[in-house]
């Protein structure tokens, strides 16, 4: 089928709006050109695309971006209590002054632009590679744009167990910033790594994370997208899992006008584990979209998708989650749950669970629910003296907890819980 002119023109506009990176190694240049070609041939996203039916991509692709005022608050930064290597970006640009020295025992780390200017074999095997694999069978045009143009970000290779996590902190200062960041992480065999990300990043943020986990490796990802009310973000996380490896990714989203988080996971080795979870809380002009695609192409792998959305005053939550089990992926254990908690009659939760199974010896289950706060529970709490507002908060936190419980490190999970509780309490006052 011919690609509509609207999509093709849109792709040209996107590519023209961001400068072509220069001075990079020839291998990197060809990766960028291939990505630009992918986008140019398949076109920019439009509302008519199957996977954009519920989220209008217009404000993600328009030129220039819509202004978004940074959100002023006096809160202590998230993960501040954790021992971590802090790397700060301001409107998508790495700031050496605000960051810790870029070094950590157990990892090789360098800015993406440096990695792409030299011939590093592992980076060659990763940059743009997982993103390209993730373009089939569903187009991910914003990720292709990112690979073609993003110059900010880091390349990280992990050996063993570094003593602390790396924390990317994305600050937002400029109301018109239109940022792209691309990070690549290679977790070597048997290594174990935790990546933390937090902050609103920019008025409009396009972020890609490619994670390649070798056999017996483990990657933990905890992300909190910043609270700016007007920001927009489209993110793509692409993971490839080796044998007996683990990938766990959790995202907390509070506020933001539009958030589209895509996560593409592929099992290529047997006995792998992938858990992708998300908790979001939004009100009013808030649209949050989780689009997940997990491909089982190996034996005896376990995947879990746990997504919870709390919506009020016209907020909209979207979940599009797919589990694809290829013919040889026997003994697959796939699970998917998406739930919306609507705090009033104005909000909406749209879910599109998809299972596509070609192996015969698998266990795959999925569920999706949408409802209001349970009045029976509310009354029980109130009958013990808890005010209606506080009781509702307890139930909201309880609802989200199944997703938060996917964070393996209890201290990080408690950090997220405490932050959420404080936000909800603040709203009540």
């Amino acid at each position: 089928m011919a690609v509509p002119a609207l999509k093709l023109d849109g792709a040209q506009t996107l590519l023209a709006a961001a400068p072509e990176p220069s001075g990079e190694a020839s291998w990197a240049r060809s990766v960028r050109q291939a990505a630009a070609r992918r986008l140019a041939e398949r076109g920019a996203p439009v509302r008519r695309d199957e996977y954009w039916r519920y989220t209008d991509p217009q404000s993600l692709t328009c030129q220039p971006p819509v202004a978004a005022a940074p959100f002023e608050n006096d809160e202590a930064p998230l993960f501040g209590g954790a021992d971590r290597l802090k790397l700060v970006f301001v409107d998508g640009v790495f700031s050496r002054e605000l960051s810790d020295p870029v070094e950590l025992e157990g990892i090789e780390i360098q800015p993406l632009s440096e990695a792409l200017s030299t011939d590093i074999h592992w980076a060659r095997e990763l940059f743009g590679v997982l993103e390209a694999r993730g373009q089939t069978p569903v187009d991910r045009p914003m990720a292709a744009l990112n690979t073609a143009r993003a110059t900010e970000g880091f390349a990280i290779r992990v050996h063993g167990r570094p003593g602390k996590p790396v924390n990317f902190v994305y600050l937002h200062e400029d109301a018109l910033s239109d940022a792209m960041v691309h990070n690549i992480v290679r977790v070597e065999a048997g290594a174990d790594f935790t990546l933390l990300e937090n902050g609103p990043a920019a008025a409009r943020f396009n972020k890609v994370l490619e994670v390649d986990v070798a056999d017996d490796g483990a990657f933990h990802h905890v992300r909190a997208q910043g609270r700016d009310h007007e920001r927009r973000a489209v993110t793509g996380t692409f993971a490839r899992l080796g044998a007996r490896s683990t990938f766990k990714s959790f995202t907390l989203t509070v506020n933001g006008r539009l958030t589209r988080n895509e996560c593409v996971v592929e099992f290529t080795g047997d006995d792998g584990i992938a858990h992708v979870a998300g908790a979001c809380v939004g009100e009013g002009d808030f649209r949050h979209d989780d689009t997940v695609f997990v491909t089982h192409d190996a034996v005896n792998c376990e995947s879990r998708q746990v997504f919870k959305k709390v919506l009020r005053s016209g907020a909209m939550g979207i979940f599009q989650g797919k589990i694809l089990v290829k013919p040889d992926a026997q003994k697959t254990d796939g699970y998917q749950i998406s739930q919306g908690l609507l705090l009033d009659d104005d909000s909406q939760f749209l879910a599109k669970p998809e299972l596509e199974i070609y192996a015969d010896d698998v266990a795959c289950s999925h569920g999706s629910t949408c409802g209001a706060v349970d009045e029976t529970l509310l009354f029980y709490l109130r009958s013990r003296g808890v005010s209606r507002g506080e009781a509702e908060e307890l139930l909201v936190l309880a609802f989200l907890d199944e997703a938060i419980a996917e964070i393996e490190d209890p201290a990080l999970a408690d950090d997220i819980r405490a932050r959420l509780a404080a936000w909800l309490a603040r709203r009540r006052r």
């Binding site: 029976t376 529970l377 709490l381 109130r382 009958s383 013990r384 003296g385 808890v386 307890l394």
Partner: protein, 251 residues
């Protein structure tokens, strides 16, 4: 302590009267039992007193320690000293038992203008009270009532009562679903709380609970009204002869 006058109430959604003129006075320090056949309105009375949504009070008044109970929100009734031990305690996945108890206690203290209890003092107090009811640390850490047996749920209700120290306690069929040992444990918990400043309204089908929690006054409820009031011997009469005789004698 609690004065109910000519209380009429029914379900909002159905045009059906359940309580048809309940009169009851419970003084501080007393234990009253309400017995009655199924459908007599016992549980409705407890829900109306606790302030559950869905009930329509069409006539009458309920006064507790000088304030009009029916004008208050459920949480305000709790802060004023009312406590309902539920017939079917609900499970609240994701809310830790300990968090729940501390939130409830501090919310009530705050509403009464008292200082909130700090974590260490709360924990000490809770451990002591849990021990008396044979409630393990593990049960305190679990989400409220999730995975609890019937007996554990009822004991957990009594623990909440012990922690919150209400003035007026209503026990709605707390004995249902309990084996003999669990019933003794629950009764011990209740008896430990008896005192001159606290009153109890014990709703039950069976006399056996009243062997352990000996009431001062026993009421028989039928068709939405208290039809007979007497001493503990009235409960024995019900146990031996059933409700039919009493219903006939007052008809």
């Amino acid at each position: 302590m609690l004065t109910i006058k000519n209380l009429h109430a029914g379900l909002e959604e159905e045009d059906k009267k359940i309580l048809k003129g309940v009169d009851l006075e419970v003084k501080a320090g007393e234990v009253h039992a309400i017995m009655g056949p199924n459908g007599s309105g016992k549980s409705t009375l407890s829900y109306v007193l606790a302030g559950r949504d869905g009930y329509d009070v069409t006539e009458g008044s309920v006064e507790m320690n000088g304030s009009e109970l029916l004008d208050l929100e459920p949480e305000e009734r709790a802060a004023a000293g009312l406590f309902l031990a539920f017939q079917y305690p609900v499970e609240i996945p994701g809310v830790g038992n300990m968090t729940f108890l501390r939130t409830a206690l501090n919310a009530q203290r705050k509403a009464r203008g008292e200082e909130e209890l700090n974590a260490a003092d709360f924990l000490r107090m809770l451990r002591e009270k849990a021990k008396a009811l044979d409630i393990s640390q593990e049960m305190l850490k679990r989400p409220v009532n999730v995975g609890f047996s019937g007996g554990e749920k009822k004991r957990n209700e009594i623990l909440q009562m012990a922690v919150l120290e209400p003035k007026m306690c209503i026990l709605d069929e707390t004995d249902s679903g309990l084996d003999v040992d669990a019933m003794k444990l629950v009764a011990q918990g209740v008896n430990a709380l008896r005192g001159k400043d606290r009153a109890f309204l014990v709703i039950t089908h069976y006399q056996r609970l009243l062997d352990h929690i000996v009431p001062d006054v026993v009421h028989i409820m039928a068709e939405g009204r208290i039809i007979k009031t007497g001493g503990p011997e009235l409960a024995l009469e019900v146990e031996h002869n059933g409700y039919a005789d009493i219903l006939k004698s007052v008809a």
